[in-house]
Subunit: 85 residues, 2 copies
């Protein structure tokens, strides 16, 4: 078993209205020191795959096909092998 | 300047319908090896604060007040100091 942690974020050049709204809300709450806010997705997948390399290729494919919109988003991931005890 | 990276995830005991939908979609695409999927939020804040301890307290307060619903979600964060060059 493998755990994949995937971070999907908007590309630097893409406007982030959700982040903008969060920044505004934080300002309203008195946190004036917040200069920028960007929101992304955090995805945890449990994979029934033993081979690390296979898992890596699969995660890449899942990101490209479904989890990230690579036109406006970029992704990075980490793989952790789960030791069965 | 400080960068805070915040991860907001649903508590283990809370059902994740969005994650369930993603898992279903991945199965439909042929990724049968996905045994579980959980979706969270990934938030990047740029803070105009020099003192690390102050920044940490502020981030904690922002999470408690706005960014996370602590009844069903938990959060963790990382702080990185941005060196101005």
């Amino acid at each position: 078993m493998c755990k994949a942690v995937i971070y999907v974020t908007l590309r630097e050049s893409v406007l982030d209205p959700q982040g903008h709204a969060v920044q505004g809300a934080l300002h309203t709450l008195g946190f004036q020191q917040v200069k920028d806010a960007r929101i992304g997705k955090y995805i945890e997948l449990t994979l029934d795959t033993k081979d690390r390399q296979v898992a890596e290729e699969q995660v890449k494919e899942m990101c490209e096909k479904l989890l990230a919109n690579t036109v406006i988003e970029e992704y990075r991931y980490e793989l952790v092998e789960l030791v069965e005890g």
